[in-house]
């Protein structure tokens, strides 16, 4: 009898959880006079990837993507971020709606050739996972203002750069839909659950 009560309690609690809950949309909202809501969007950008190809928002048209910030000679958190991002890559490598965008915050050292070798050594395909370089200030700026993460010079940090280990999930409308610690396996588990949820939003 007692167990029955517990069981009913558990079932009730379960049913209280909203089903098909959509992922939050991050950032400041703006409501226009006409009543439309304008969400925070990733700003325009133009970078170069490991194949010397131009990468712009058009590259990610009709795709969701995961972004991060790293540098190839980073001695601290980047290797573990790449290990974790590789899990995302492996899971979605055959899904044409998913891409990955890794920004180098050390573009002076991380030239196209360095990024090319890095991606090849990691064993990933460049039409799925873009490693980009470009103007350092542009990369720092888009990190801070569009992706809401820390990316800056810091002589006191190991490797000379201070940057967050965040993975940022971006939807097809260039809106941020999730922020995760890319150094922790369970956070990346959550990211992949959220990616599945986000992909469902586009199923018609």
């Amino acid at each position: 009898m007692k167990y029955l009560v517990i069981l009913v309690g558990v079932v009730t609690l379960w049913s209280c959880q909203p089903k098909d809950e959509k992922l939050k949309i991050y950032g400041r909202k703006e409501v226009k006079a006409e009543g439309d809501t304008i969400f925070h969007k990733i700003a325009d950008y133009k970078f170069v990837n490991q194949d010397s190809a131009m990468v712009t928002p058009a590259t990610f048209e009709d795709k969701i993507y995961v972004a991060d910030f790293f540098f190839t000679s980073c001695p601290t958190i980047c290797p573990i971020m790449k290990t974790q991002m590789l899990r995302v890559y492996e899971k979605y490598k055959d899904n044409p709606e998913v891409m990955i965008l890794s920004h180098s915050i050390d573009p002076k050292h991380d030239t196209v050739a360095v990024l090319k070798e890095f991606s090849e050594r990691l064993g990933v395909s460049s039409d799925k996972w873009h490693f980009i370089t470009g103007d350092k200030e542009d990369i720092f700026k888009i990190g801070q203002t569009s992706y809401m993460v820390t990316a800056m010079d810091d002589a006191t940090a190991p490797g000379g750069y201070l940057h967050s280990g965040a993975f940022i999930l971006v939807d097809k409308e260039r809106r941020v839909r999730g922020l995760y610690d890319g150094t922790l396996a369970d956070q990346v588990d959550k990211l992949m659950v959220d990616m599945d949820k986000l992909l469902q939003e586009y199923e018609k």
Partner: protein, 147 residues
């Protein structure tokens, strides 16, 4: 129970090396070995596993494996120096060229290096036995003498 087996196995192996140590000394050594393995694993997690991975298999062609790595197994002194001083330039590990710099961890004490070395030399299929502080001391003296 499993530990007991390990101890017995270790004693048997020690006996095979033809050492004249008494049995009680072997048991003391074995306890020390276990301590080094436990401490070594913790230090490995902090300082090494980001790149070389928890399972010692490395990452792609970026970070070389430690597990059954010919480069690691053929020279313990060299590995001790690399743990302390880092390394740059390309190396060949199990037939694959790696060329990512490894940072020095200058803060590591000799005991800690011995613990890390003992852990990596006795995990994931590696079986080189304990790396003592004396061994580390000697290796570090030699590598700092190099030009």
């Amino acid at each position: 129970m499993k530990n007991k087996f390990l101890i017995i196995a270790a004693i048997t192996m020690m006996a095979c090396t033809g050492k004249k140590d008494t049995q009680s000394a072997s048991v003391a050594d074995d306890v020390k070995f276990e301590q080094y393995m436990v401490e070594g694993q913790q230090l490995y997690t902090i300082h090494c596993s980001n790149c070389h991975q928890v399972n010692g298999e490395g990452l792609g062609r970026l970070y070389p494996p430690l597990s059954k790595s010919d480069y690691l197994l053929e020279d313990i002194d060299r590995a001790i120096c690399i743990i302390k001083n880092g390394q740059e330039g390309s190396i060949m590990v199990n037939g694959v060229v790696f060329n990512q710099p490894m940072p020095a961890v200058t803060t590591l004490k000799k005991l800690e290096i011995a613990e890390i070395a003992t852990y990596i030399y006795n995990s994931w299929g590696n079986e080189k036995g304990m790396v003592s502080i004396d061994k580390v001391d000697q290796a570090l003296t030699d590598c700092s003498n190099q030009p």
